[in-house]
């Protein structure tokens, strides 16, 4: 008798953080969010799905494949003012740009992209916090939609994520047909669940959800390992050992050194800082930059430690699979697949890793 009671109370505790949202209520729910702050969601632009700011709930397109660009631009815009300055007769006035004073909702995020924010949190956080990212992040809520039909090009499972992963989300919506089962993995999400748009979920909904989740995950199996001798230790050591392997020359030869992979990647964060000047006033801005661009590491002397695509492509791999794990204890890839599908020459880093791992010195 006692064990049944405690089991019931445990289940109710879990289920207390899960409710139901009928699809016909979605629009009014979104409209309410739009009243309180900025909302970013997938929108259709021509043939393309892009993650952008919306002004009306009807602009949001849900339940599709992932957007071409990643949601990172809602927290880390491609162009952002750092400060403005003005010369005056006593000297110079500097005005820091607002770092992010508005509430913002990232809506319809795929679980891989939600996870990516956890990596960006570590990079932009730490002992010296980046206020432009951090302030937006503190005021941001991620309402994600689980992937019930993952693309063949998705490989989140291989990177520790999953089509129904809750990591990085405040709410996770699972499409049941005419409604969503809504899980709240965070405190902020739990508060949102109290909104009148949500109702209690019934047993049938929970059962249906379980089946959908299992189907979604098994559709991605078997997840091909990224490294031939998959170990729990990660790829840092073997990658370090293979840094000078001549195989890099062949594997990277077709790379165009454009910025597509880095710009569309949800975890890439490199940026440039430049001044835009008028006669008396001006501003300092930061803009996305790419370690793939030929001049990224070129010094004023003209010396460039990464003079060809090989060094630059290798840097990207090392950064994501060796440096970031060492520095912030997280891999710099969530398996969204954009760099694989969007690369104009189909340079697939998974094949690069696998080829290297076959070359691993024993």
């Amino acid at each position: 008798m006692t064990s049944m009671t405690s089991m019931t109370s445990m289940t109710s505790a879990i289920r207390a953080n899960t409710r139901l949202l009928r699809k016909k209520r979605m629009e009014s729910f979104l409209e309410a969010l739009l009243q309180d702050g900025l909302v970013f969601a997938p929108v259709r632009k021509g043939e393309m799905l892009l993650f952008e700011r919306i002004e009306s709930a009807r602009d949001a397109v849900l339940g599709q494949r992932n957007t071409k660009n990643s949601p990172k631009s809602a927290l880390f815009p491609q162009t952002e003012r750092l400060f403005a300055y003005r010369h005056h007769k006593e000297g110079l006035a500097i005005e820091a740009a607002s770092t992010g004073d508005k509430e913002r909702v990232l809506f319809g995020v795929h679980p891989c992209d939600a996870r990516a924010h956890l990596l960006l949190d570590r990079v932009f956080g730490g002992s010296t916090e980046d206020p432009y990212y951090a302030e937006k992040r503190r005021k941001a809520i991620a309402i994600s939609i689980a992937c019930t039909h993952p693309d063949p090009s998705c490989f989140c499972l291989a990177l520790g994520g999953g089509p129904c992963s809750q990591e990085g989300s405040d709410l996770l919506l699972l499409d049941l047909g005419d409604s969503y089962l809504v899980e709240a993995p965070s405190e902020r999400g739990r508060l949102l669940l109290e909104d009148k748009s949500f109702e209690d979920a019934d047993e049938e909904s929970f059962d249906k959800a379980e089946l959908i989740k299992r189907t979604a995950e098994s559709s991605m199996q078997p997840a091909a390992p990224l490294w031939e001798k998959a170990t729990d230790e990660g790829m840092e050591k073997p990658l370090d050992a293979l840094f000078d392997d001549p195989l890099w020359n062949d594997l990277t030869e077709s790379c165009l050194s454009c910025g597509i992979c880095t710009y569309l990647c949800p975890t890439c964060h490199c940026f440039d800082i430049s001044d835009e000047a008028g006669a008396v006033t001006g501003e300092r801005i930061r803009t996305w930059d790419s370690c793939q661009f030929p001049l990224f590491t070129r010094q004023a002397s003209g010396h460039n430690p990464r003079p060809s695509a090989k060094e630059r492509f290798r840097q990207r791999i090392m950064h994501k699979f060796s440096h970031l794990p060492k520095n912030v204890n997280m891999t710099g890839c969530v398996g969204c697949g954009r760099c694989v599908t969007e690369c104009p020459v189909n340079l697939d880093f998974r094949e690069v890793l696998l080829a290297l791992s076959k070359n691993e010195a024993t």
């Binding site: 010296t128 916090e129 206020p131 840094f243 490199c270 940026f271 300092r284 930059d289 010094q299 430690p305």
Partner: protein, 281 residues
């Protein structure tokens, strides 16, 4: 919370033309706001990002010593956009400063040790800062013997000629200056810095070597100090890379998994040997 991207203003109080080719100037800056002066505490080996508003920012090692906190000094070689713009500025002009940045020389672990400072050309800035810091009466006793080897291509290209003259007259350091080729009136060494280090052959016993200069000089100095018996932990380098944010966020200046701006720019050879990355010199 502090915004690490916002510079504070400083006024150019003096500009010293250091070299005969007019390519290197030292800018002596004064604080414009009391709160900036109070907050700016640094150790030799650190650097700051100096802004020419409207043109951009560039990193420069602290050439001044923290024992004289009223002014900051940066030596600037005109090589690119920002350095060129700086060179065009005059006394009274306003620049921005973000800093101090980087780790600086590990003063605590250097105490009680003999020091061998090896500098080349324009890289001597932070070693000048360190030398003046050590020579200060409050600090001198904390360190052992001080040997400074500093070289430039020609006598007219040596920086800090006033300091060099003062140091020459002191007995608590050994100063070895060198130029690449014989020159009229030149009394010091003749030869490249690594060769002079080898010929001076300072003892490695309880000594830390600190090297800062052009990549090629550092590359050829390493085997020399190793031959002299310096262990990897006792050889320090101050590295340079293309930088932007200076705080380890923009992803540009890494050597392996370490950012030169925030984990460095000072690294020991044992740290560098353990990093997987493009060769840094």
């Amino acid at each position: 919370m502090d915004n690490p991207y916002i510079p504070f203003p400083m006024r150019i109080e003096e500009i010293i033309l250091e070299t005969e080719d007019r390519k290197i100037k030292t800018f002596i800056l004064g604080f414009m706001r009391e709160e900036d002066r109070e907050r700016f505490t640094y150790v030799p080996g650190q650097f700051a990002e100096v802004s020419v508003f409207g043109t951009g920012e560039a990193p420069f090692g602290m050439a001044s010593t923290p024992t004289r906190p009223e002014r900051l000094e940066f030596s600037v070689s005109t090589i690119g956009v920002v350095t060129g713009a700086l060179h065009n500025m005059e006394r009274g002009g306003i620049v921005g400063v973000r800093g101090p940045l980087g780790n600086g020389y590990p003063l605590e672990s250097l105490q009680g040790k003999n020091l061998l400072l090896i500098g080349g050309g324009f890289g001597f800035s932070t070693l000048r800062s360190l030398t003046n810091y050590i020579l200060h009466e409050k600090n001198r006793k904390a360190f052992g013997n001080l040997t400074v080897v500093y070289g430039a291509r020609k006598p007219g290209l040596l920086l800090y000629k006033e300091d060099l003259e003062l140091w020459r007259q002191r007995t608590d350091l050994k100063l070895h200056l060198t130029v690449d080729a014989e020159a009229d009136g030149w009394q010091g060494h003749v030869g490249l810095v690594p060769d002079v280090v080898r010929s001076v052959a300072p003892t490695a016993g309880n000594t830390v070597a600190i090297v800062c200069g052009p990549p090629i000089m550092m590359k050829f100095t390493l085997p020399v100090v190793k031959d002299l018996g310096f262990s990897d932990e006792n050889i320090l380098f101050s590295l340079e890379m293309q930088m932007k944010c200076g705080i380890g966020k923009c992803g540009r200046c890494n050597v392996g998994s370490k950012y030169v701006c925030s984990d460095g720019p000072v690294f020991s050879q044992s740290q560098l040997a353990g990093l997987t990355g493009e060769t840094h010199f």
